[in-house]
């Protein structure tokens, strides 16, 4: 499902202009990383997509729906949203009931709700804790629980706000695999993250925001290698990009594998000269 942000501006009640004439067109099945420092407008932008905020000017389209014609709960059938703090959602007495809350609200049959719940719990690795009380679990597990609740809603578009915070290496890999899996199912994914290395593993396109504007929008390897631009947005480049630039290598490797590839090609070229 495509998402279109058409010349959107957003001004808070306090008068703060959080977004200034943003244009963003996301095709169905894309995974887009949104980066920028706190206050750049990333969360404001994505909240416009599921209707939690309404644009002051311009329009937002989710598929063929204009968000201003639908409530947030209605848009929830199309857009799943993972908030940064899981403790702002959890209230049920068991993990399973918590995950079932979303799909049940969306009106799926009990059988479908059960199936989607199981599947989501399996994906995040909490199936064996289905009957545990969420507050008996550790914070990083509650974060995975919140992720499962969002996955269980089975929406064509998903927004993730800092999904990797507080996770260890195993947790990050798990989340990356889940995102890759969703991409294979042709879901449209929007990913807000401070961790560009994390983004580099899953996203194909990146958008850089600063001061309510888009500074860059393009293929991830191109955007993440523009260090001056990233510096303008107060974002540090991925680690491999930094290493490549220190060594003055051409190209913009994002992962260790890509780096070694770039390095080896460069070494070969140097040998020949």
């Amino acid at each position: 499902m495509k998402v279109k942000v058409e010349r959107v501006s957003f001004v808070y009640h306090s008068g703060v202009r959080a977004l200034d004439s943003i244009d963003l067109a996301i095709s169905s099945g894309e995974t887009v990383a949104i980066v920028g420092e706190n206050g750049a407008g990333k969360t404001t932008l994505v909240k416009l997509i599921n209707g939690l905020l309404r644009p002051t000017a311009g329009r937002v389209w989710v598929g063929n729906w204009d968000t201003k014609d639908f409530t947030t709960a209605q848009l929830a059938t199309r857009v799943g949203f993972l908030f940064q703090n899981p403790d702002e959602q959890l209230f049920e007495r068991s993990v399973e009931r918590e995950v079932a809350f979303g799909p049940r609200n969306l009106g799926f049959s009990e059988a479908k709700v059960k199936a989607k719940t199981r599947r989501a719990l399996q994906q995040v690795g909490l199936l064996d804790k289905a009957q545990v009380n969420p507050y008996d679990m550790q914070p990083f597990e509650r974060k995975l629980l919140a992720l499962a609740s969002t996955l269980a809603m089975d929406t064509p578009v998903l927004v993730f706000d800092e999904p990797s915070i507080g996770q260890d290496a195993a947790g990050r890999r798990r989340i990356q695999r889940i995102l890759a899996g969703l991409h294979k199912l042709d879901r449209t994914l929007l990913l807000i993250s401070h961790d560009l290395d994390f983004c580099a593993q899953v996203a194909t396109r990146a958008v850089v925001m600063a001061g309510g504007r888009l500074l860059a929008d393009g293929p991830i390897s191109k955007v993440f290698s523009q260090t001056e631009l990233l510096a303008q947005a107060a974002v540090s480049p991925p680690q491999m990009v930094r290493l490549a630039q220190r060594l003055k290598l051409p190209g913009a490797p994002l992962t260790p594998r890509q780096f070694v590839h770039t390095y080896s090609a460069w070494r070969n070229r140097r040998k020949r000269t």
Partner: protein, 259 residues
């Protein structure tokens, strides 16, 4: 310092008074509100005692704004209720078989004036006294530290509850929760909206208790303070005089009631 305090930071003499002196004024005006015999006395107390004190504290405008903002609905409702339903001789106008009497109206206004004076005393305190200074004055006189902490932290943390409640509402809406609708539907919203608020607050309370321990809050023995509260013989005398006046007013009122 803002936060969400009503306190306004000014360089007035009233601000410099010891918190207990200001608290004494509050109690004095509370007694006035209860014990003064009539509307004229009450209005005199407001305009000739409270207002000048507010002026002395350089908070006249906020004082007036807040008193009238709170008292206006009371004036209207009490006037109507007492005007129509308290007996009297002088009928000003009628609505059907209900007569609005002057005496009734006066009675209503008098009750409203009592509220105004009591409120004025409380406002004077809140506008010119830092809550932590007040709590410190009280703990020095024996108020338990834990009670003082509860008061102070509630002032600061309660607004965060409101922020968090808003975030919770958004999170649950994003999970398909429809808000609005009939009473039954709204009642069903209670659990998914208050649940996370209460549960996450419990987690927070535990962590905050740890933070307090880490700062030695449970340490027995005398605590010192950064804030210096200046008292004086003159103020102690003032508080004593106010106490006497207050007792005197109560005695007078009780005596006239039994006449």
């Amino acid at each position: 310092m803002r936060g969400n305090l009503l306190y306004l930071d000014k360089e007035s003499s009233l601000h410099q008074l010891h918190p207990l002196s200001k608290l004494a004024f509050t109690f004095f005006f509370l007694i006035c509100a209860a014990a003064l015999p009539g509307l004229d006395w009450l209005l005199a107390a407001y305009f000739f005692l409270l207002l000048p004190l507010a002026g002395w504290g350089q908070v006249t405008a906020p004082f007036l704004r807040s008193s009238w903002a709170v008292i206006t609905p009371f004036v209207i409702s009490l006037s109507l209720i007492q005007g129509f339903f308290t007996g009297g001789e002088t009928v000003l106008f009628s609505l059907g078989r209900f007569a609005f009497t002057f005496e009734g109206w006066l009675a209503g206004l008098t009750v409203a004036a009592r509220i105004l004076v009591a409120l004025g005393g409380a406002l004077l305190l809140t506008l010119t006294t830092r809550p932590d200074a007040l709590m410190q004055a009280l703990t020095q006189r024996g108020l338990p530290n834990s009670l003082a902490y509860i008061v102070l932290s509630s002032i600061q943390i309660f607004p965060r509850f409101q922020d968090r409640a808003q975030l919770i509402l958004q999170a649950q809406q994003a999970r398909g929760l429809e808000t609005g609708g009939n009473l039954v539907r709204r009642l069903k919203l209670l659990v998914p909206l208050s649940g996370p608020l209460i549960l996450s607050s419990i987690v927070d309370v535990e962590e905050r208790a740890m933070a307090l321990e880490a700062r030695g809050f449970s340490r027995p023995g005398r605590k010192t303070s950064l804030l210096v509260l200046r008292d004086s013989q003159a103020q102690r005398l003032l508080r004593f005089v106010l106490l006497l006046l207050g007792l005197g007013l109560i005695t007078l009122r009780v005596w006239t009631l039994f006449q």
